[in-house]
Symmetry: C2
Subunit: 213 residues, 2 copies
């Protein structure tokens, strides 16, 4: 779990679906096609959850569900604070060659208050600008570096520019209430055919089992 985005992702997903077991998380993340970007294979989910529990960011409940034993996780207050911290770091920190934390953060936006999202994105915008300026003003020892290195720097600048525009645009959309965030006038609702009802059932049962101990 060196890659802090695994922490962020697991903590966030638990918060979205708690109480929840490892397999449900795996299924959910697969359905987000997260495996395409984050590197979450079954093993790292379970060990990541264990680590987060050991650190006091999650509570582990060993339930007996019917005949079956199942390990179900819920977030702790400390875990929710940790999530906020990680989320801010992921969204504010610019590293164009490791975009995963940022993308992970974006995908977990709904867990953060609207005002704080705006604050974090504005901060990212500033950081992007700073990095671009830094790059432009760098003592471009032209001639001292091979041409392909210069070309790579161009690519980097292009990516920074693209992201900058996207962030600015996103801030506009949020401002106009178009991002479906909590507190927007027209907050987004999941469609009615409801593919997640199964998990909602489990969740309710888990909740009762936790209470009844």
């Amino acid at each position: 779990m060196a890659a802090t985005e695994t922490r962020l992702l697991l903590l966030g997903t638990v918060m979205l679906f708690e109480p929840v077991n490892g397999y449900q998380l795996r299924r959910e993340l697969l359905s987000w096609q997260v495996e395409d970007w984050a590197h979450v294979n079954p093993g790292s989910i379970y060990s990541g959850l264990a680590t987060l529990a050991r650190q006091g960011n999650l509570d582990r409940h060993d339930l007996v569900d019917g005949t079956r034993e199942v390990a179900v996780y819920t977030s702790t207050p400390q875990g929710r604070e940790e999530f906020e911290r990680l989320w801010f770091a992921a969204v504010e920190t610019v590293d164009l060659l490791s975009p995963l934390p940022f993308h992970t953060g974006l995908s977990l936006m709904p867990l953060i208050e609207r005002d704080r999202i705006v604050k974090a994105l504005r901060s990212r915008l500033a950081n992007l600008d700073a990095k671009v300026r830094e790059q432009l003003e760098a003592p471009r020892d032209l001639g001292s570096m091979p041409p392909h290195v210069g070309a790579m720097a161009d690519l980097w600048m292009g990516l920074a520019q693209t992201e900058r525009e996207w962030v600015a645009n996103a801030l506009g959309r949020i401002d106009r209430g178009e991002m479906g965030l909590a507190g927007d006038s027209t907050s987004w609702e999941a469609p009615a055919d409801d593919p997640g009802w199964q998990m909602a059932n489990d969740r309710e049962r888990y909740r009762r089992l936790i209470r009844g101990r």
Copy 2:
């Protein structure tokens, strides 16, 4: 060494500077500011070299340099083949959320023949186009996904577009012989003040020591 870009980077850097020891590699990579992107801390260099040696991609020579023992590495024929394989995979494979293999590949361009670079970049261009088309034609269940997910897809498209243009442009530059690659009419030369002479000395000494065993 799950991240295959560490393999690629180490193998390539050894090929650039062989015979070379772990510390020299570390210094060189630091000077490329590689630690900013790839995650190479001292430990992973040494264990990565050990792994590559165990697999027969590198030879390890335990030399006595003056009074000091030093572990010096050279590439094997198998290692050079492996490098080509890894390089092609890194440059051809499009994963916009893990740009490191591509960047690592770009930084090691000088180790690859010009024609093969062109081939790989053309292939990447095709793969980028394919992914973009796929994304556009995806059954955009508009309304079935929260708006922030759609916004993330927009970001992804923008990045793909930016990279596409850069690759097309780079192909043009290579074609006009502006990239300083081996075989270009005006191949690029390091400036004369020669910051690498120290390593060149060590290299020569290591070569003699290896021969004299």
